[in-house]
Amino acid sequence: MIDMHTHILPQIDDGSSSIDETMKMIKEAYRAGFTDIFATSHYIEGRYEFNKTDRKYIINAIQEKLDEEEIDLKLHIGAEAYISSTMVELVKNETIPCLGSSRYVLFELPLRSKIFYTENIIERLIALNYIPIIAHPERYDMVQEEPEIVLDWVRAGALLQANFASIDGVYGSKAKNILLKLLEANAIHFLGTDTHMSNSFYLKISDFKEMYIKEIGKKRFEILTYDNPMSVLEDEEIDVEEPKKIKSNKMW
């Protein structure tokens, strides 16, 4: 498996607090069956501003330690950018790195507030030949209120990355229900753990995996956790099927 979303680098954001914790997390990931990890620490203007160069140095240093310890796992550069009016510029001038050496850009939206320019950002990224990936759509209030908007994002050319743990209701039952609907509509393209600390999600991966396989089958699970991420690593385009209509639910 390939983990598309982690906060595994030490002291860069609200994720791992030290190199010791980072190494612990990586070992947990390795035992859980991951061979590749994208280190997608936050990039939030004014708060977490480690640029591409910094991240490259830090990843290389950690990779050296892994090689020394003969842990067969590869770290790849990345970032979880926080949507803003200047985000596209920062990607363009290579302050915010893409995933690996690809054209894929992972970004997140505010969890609680509604914003009106997501499609504008998607269009601008695509016009510049980037491929946008939106992190954990199931967790956003605006998606929970109006799930159909993700279809607009996908049609505009964005791909969606869901969090492993959402299927277990870790982010609330609303997030879980939305995730199930998005999976059913074929609107999820990647899974990531969004791990922020050791002793956490990596220890439960086999449970989560079972739940996903029950919902979408083994083959689809492999596409989300290996085939599609592999395409990102190799900077190849992913064949995206037109998502199905999202089933409405009277509860909302």
Binding site: M23, S113, I115, Y117, G172
Partner: protein, 309 residues
């Protein structure tokens, strides 16, 4: 700095997140690339407009915009209290030409503007309480003020008096690009809101959105979903107030005069931008010649990684 300036004192809180979203929504509406002028007003008192203005201003400053916050509520000023600054000399002194000691004196706006504890956020306090705020605002000095400040600031944000009580804010709304109406959940009357909208539209003001303040959110919902890591042991504090943008309308009703002003800004900015591009090209060359080196903060992290085991 007072605690109510939450965007600054607690940038990670979900309330701060809402302010940043509001800011970015506004940034996207600024099509001219020039200085953006915004008025925040409300229908009546106590809907939270000063609190919203202060925090919105801080959110702008955090994004690197140089912002001038003008306390244009000359009847019941509050910004100087939020930022713990003195209130004089201020807007009324500048507009009236009477200084804080009651003597005639033509002040420059920069005599009245104060820097604050928030980087890039500058405050023009309201000044001594004048007998005739509306008249003062009607003088051509207000437009001169905007023009003058536009040269030095990316955003000018007015905290205006409630617009149903007095005409102050209606006057300002005709001079700025965007007006935001603050309403309070279960407090603002819908007819008042309609009335306010009518008054602002009548003078050619451009209402770009309504902020609904003081929405109740349950603590459960908050705890469930705010923290990134669900097994975080940090207890969540329950926010008292939350603002949410609920409505946006297309840009319209820009008066001819504002139109001309915007054109002027664009021209000025095009010249500026050309210069910036030239500078950037030079800068970029320098950058390319330099080998990529990690920042000092990254160096510290690298040291700890290299010391592992």
């Amino acid at each position: 700095m007072k605690k109510e300036l939450i965007t600054q004192t607690d940038p990670k809180s979900p309330i701060s997140e809402v302010f940043r979203a509001l800011r970015t929504n506004l940034q996207f509406m600024n099509k001219s690339n020039g200085c953006q002028t915004i008025l925040v007003t409300s229908t009546v008192q106590s809907e939270g407009k000063s609190w919203i203005s202060a925090n919105l201003a801080a959110a702008f400053a955090q994004s690197g915009s140089r912002i001038l916050l003008i306390d244009a509520d000359m009847r019941k000023p509050r910004q100087h209290k939020i930022f713990q600054q003195k209130n004089t000399p201020g807007l009324s002194n500048y507009l009236s030409g009477i200084n804080e000691y009651g003597k005639r004196q033509d002040l420059d706006i920069y005599d009245c503007i104060q820097s604050t504890e928030v980087d890039d956020l500058y405050l023009l306090p309201s000044g001594n309480i004048p007998p005739n705020p509306s008249e003062l605002l009607l003088s051509n000095k207000t437009e001169k003020l905007i023009k003058e400040a536009s040269k030095n600031f990316d955003v000018i944000l007015f905290d205006g008096a409630p617009c149903l009580l007095v005409t102050d804010s209606t006057i300002i709304s005709s001079m700025v690009q965007s007006t935001i109406l603050v309403t309070s959940y279960k407090y603002t009357k819908i007819d008042d809101l309609k009335d306010a909208k009518k008054r602002i539209r009548k003078v050619g003001g451009n209402i770009v959105g309504v902020v609904l303040n003081r929405i109740e959110i349950s603590s459960k919902k908050y705890e469930n979903k705010y923290y990134y890591a669900s097994n975080s042991s940090t207890p969540a504090t329950i926010p008292q107030r939350k603002s949410k943008k609920i409505d946006l309308e297309d840009e319209e009703h820009i008066t001819k005069k504002q139109d001309r002003e915007i054109d002027d800004y664009i021209e000025e900015k095009v010249a500026d931008t050309e210069k910036q591009i030239q500078d950037a090209i030079k800068e970029n060359k320098k950058y390319k010649e330099k080998v990529d080196v990690p920042s000092d903060k990254a160096k510290d992290i690298l040291k700890s990684i290299n010391g592992y085991k």
